[in-house]
Amino acid sequence: MAESKNDVKIGVYVCHCGSNIAGTVDVEDLTAFAQEQGSVAVARNYKFMCSEPGQALIKKDIEELGLNRVVVASCSPRMHEPTFRRVCEDANLNPYQLDMCNIREQCSWVHKNGATAKAKALVSAAIARAFYLEALETREVPVTSAVLVVGGGIAGIQAALKVADGGRKVYLVEREPSIGGHMIQLDKTFPTLDCSACISTPKMAAVKSHPDIELMTYSEVVDVQGFVGNFRVTIRRKPRYVDESLCTGCGICQEKCPWKAESEFDCGLGQRKAIYTPFPQAVPNVPVIDPEHCVYILKDGKCGACLKFCERGAVDFSQTEKMVEIEVGAIIVATGYDLMDPSAITRLGYKRFPNVITSLEFERLCSATGPTGGHITVNGKEPKSVAIIHCVGSRDEKYHTYCSRVCCMYALKFAHLIGEKIEGAQVYQFYIDMRCYGKGFEDFYQRASSEGVTFVRGRPAQVTDFAMSPEEKGKLVVVCENTLLGRPMRVPVDMVILCPAMEARADAKEVARLFNLSQSADGFLLERHAKLEPVATANDGVFIVGCVQGPKDIPDTVAQALAGAAEALSLIDRGSVKLEAATATVNEALCHGCGRCEEICEFHAPMVRLNGRLIPVSSINEALCKGCGACAVACPTGAISIRHFTLQQILAEVEALSGVPV
């Protein structure tokens, strides 16, 4: 913008903010000071600048005095910058020609003496910077009207359905042969005790039949390119060796397949065939062939029972891995959690004693579709007494410092189910704190307590088979302190259920890298703001929902899933995205095309390519640029600068700030 020094007309507006500012800062003195600064056409103060009359005051000056810069000395820009930018826009002044000067949060509220002096310094700096402010254009780019949902657990399912019901195309990608996630493994759900399968299978079916959802199971996202509104995603589809279009899900192949393997779905408590669907209600109801156990694949050609018996000829060993590329405007990551393997804590005896099991294993034992048909038995024996140990690997700096949030409640649920299924069974809860914070949780706690559950407050040190009394012979003994009595306790039981921590997926790091997200210290993915942006992330257009963000129960997970859907919908329904105007820009004359900017940028915004005169120069993809400035600092020739935070602007601030004595 060709604008000579004397064209610059700055208006300075000092806000009293009632007495919040005026009580400490001499606003009259400050206004007078501002008036004397170069290029300042007018300086005024007013009780409440953000109020209607205050805004009108500024608008009037812009229009009548032809101001082309505005400095508002009031509260934090994080508070009212949007307000005053709108004021400028209304008066046909480019919003980026506003500078805010924070004389409340960072001056009047934190100082007594020297507040006015500091305010002067800040104002002079704002004025100095304003002088160099440039009008910036916010660009808009169209948005691809489709959403990718990664992960087919209850979070992914709910998000996919909600977006699709909004009439938008959804791609749902699931790594396993079927959707359903952890929830479909559960028996009943707290606190309402409705059957997990009964409430989730209809949702799974709805996904399958929804015209706007393209379901890709047994598939993984391998690459993500592009930016908010315009992602290009590559998906690897693993060979199923069964043609989804032909298979009717009759199940004859599984019946006839002679080769067995441990069932992942049943936590290894049961078995499945080499060609299998993880569970009867699988969606899609199309088996996969597990190459690790299929003898046809291992010893090429031997067996082939499935081939012979499939009437539709759906079995197809010629299938190979396929790469699919899709374009979406938004991405919802719902990859869930892993259950910690408690064998790390050897003293609790998991894997040493068959009757020490994890919560998930117990869910399978309880489930009618489980390996025992819903009978709680280990080696055919029904336990008469059960110990449930909370906080295994949670709230423990040796493993995970956080609380896993769901264990207290499902532990109560377990107690109830045991009482239901085993006449006169004795159940002990070993807890540290009962955390029943949710809706209906406390009632459930009360109910469980009334059902003859024994609560022992104390973290057990050991599960041992060393009997110190006749009663302990042949039992597992839980050793702990009853912290309410201050007495060591030994509790003999027939079965021990461990409640292991929910932890970040083993591959959370790769997922974070893939979608350009950050992880919090505990390994879970990081939301943009803990309170106000719970599902948004540092990467615009990518949202995280469910346990990928941290341990959650089903209601919270679903709530987040729907929030994610809303975010995705509001993004693509806008049809276009405004791109940050304060982005990096390259002065081609200075650029040597060294590529330092390419290396340092986390968002792949800069790219060195030949320009019109076939000289290698860097250029910034403004859609990708977040305006963090890393490249500008890294640039050896100073060819790159950040709009709205230029070298000139900031040096001018420094200069001005130093001018006023402390």
Binding site: I345, T346, R347, D465, F466, A467, M468
Partner: protein
């Protein structure tokens, strides 16, 4: 390689048989070491009860002495090892502590820099000498001998953290297996023996010891093997008291690990100080002799029987 050896106070007294067997076995294994010159008591389990600083400075003096020589410092006593490694660890992680400790050491005209290398006897036998070498030296495999491997507590928590698992160490089992012995499942293998409580608070000490002995008997072990002179002393000396506490009579041999290794190597019991064991170990000899095809002549010659 050659080592510095720190025998610890029990070596000349209550733990004499441990010391004798350690020397005999290490000689057989061809391990070269010299005794740390002018070593002092590590403070045992008692110094902490008097002064935090002393409980670190006493062991630190020995570490400092070893630094002068520069070779690895080896000890066969878990309590000594615990105190030494604890001092090393604390001083390394707390500059202020290091300053104070060195101020105390200055009185003895010495300074601790932190370069000392500390090793446990088992660590040396298993990881430096190696189980293969140990197995080669076995002339009288302990076939059929059922052994309760008693790791001990402070070992479990400190020693094994250095070269094995803290919560579930197995090096002992591997070592004894190399001798041909059958290591029984011993649920209390890391339970504390009560340390000095056996003397300072008998009623408690005796009951702790009683549990350890009961567990070993329940596991049908012919003997208990320990690598700590204090455990050795407790489990041997107080079987009567423990018996009274538990309403039974105990008479189960308790051997120091190198005593059992020595037997497997065919060393004469006397050189292993076995005659000093308070609970007579003779029943084991018969079992070993029976379990292996040795002519009675040999047996006599080597003093078995």
């Amino acid at each position: 390689m050659s080592y510095l050896y720190y025998p610890g106070c029990s070596g000349t007294g209550t733990g004499r048989e441990c010391e004798e067997s350690i020397q005999a076995v290490m000689r057989t294994l061809g391990v070269k070491w010299t005794e740390l010159e002018d070593w002092n008591c590590c403070g045992a389990a008692v110094a902490t009860g008097t002064s935090y600083l002393l409980s670190l400075a006493l062991p630190a003096r020995n570490l400092a002495l070893s630094e002068k020589v520069g070779s690895d410092l080896v000890t066969g006593c878990s309590r000594c090892y615990l105190n030494l490694i604890r001092a090393q660890h604390y001083i390394q992680h707390n500059a202020n502590l290091k300053e104070n400790v060195n101020a105390v050491l200055a009185e003895a005209g010495i300074q601790y820099s932190g370069t000392a290398q500390l090793r446990h006897l088992l660590d040396v036998i298993i990881n430096d000498v190696g189980l293969d070498t140990v197995a080669e030296k076995v002339t009288r495999p302990l076939d059929g001998l059922q052994v309760a491997a008693y790791y001990g507590c402070c070992q479990g928590m400190w020693t094994y953290a250095q070269f094995d698992s803290t919560e579930d160490p197995t090096c002992f089992d591997r070592l004894l297996a190399a001798l041909g012995a059958e290591v029984v499942y011993y649920p209390l293998k890391q339970a504390c023996c009560g340390g000095t409580l056996s003397m300072s608070k008998r009623s408690v000490g005796a009951s702790l010891i009683g549990d350890l002995l009961l567990a070993a008997i329940a596991a049908e072990a012919d003997c208990i093997v320990t690598a700590c002179p204090l455990c050795m002393f407790n489990l041997n000396s107080f079987q009567n008291e423990a018996g009274r506490a538990k309403g039974t009579k105990f008479n189960i041999p308790v051997l120091f690990v190198t005593q059992l290794i020595g037997l497997a190597f065919g060393l004469p019991p006397k050189t292993l100080g076995l005659q000093r064991n308070i609970v007579p170990p003779e029943p084991l000899y018969r079992k070993i002799a029976a379990g292996t095809a040795v002519s009675s002549a040999e047996a006599v010659a080597s003093g078995l029987k």
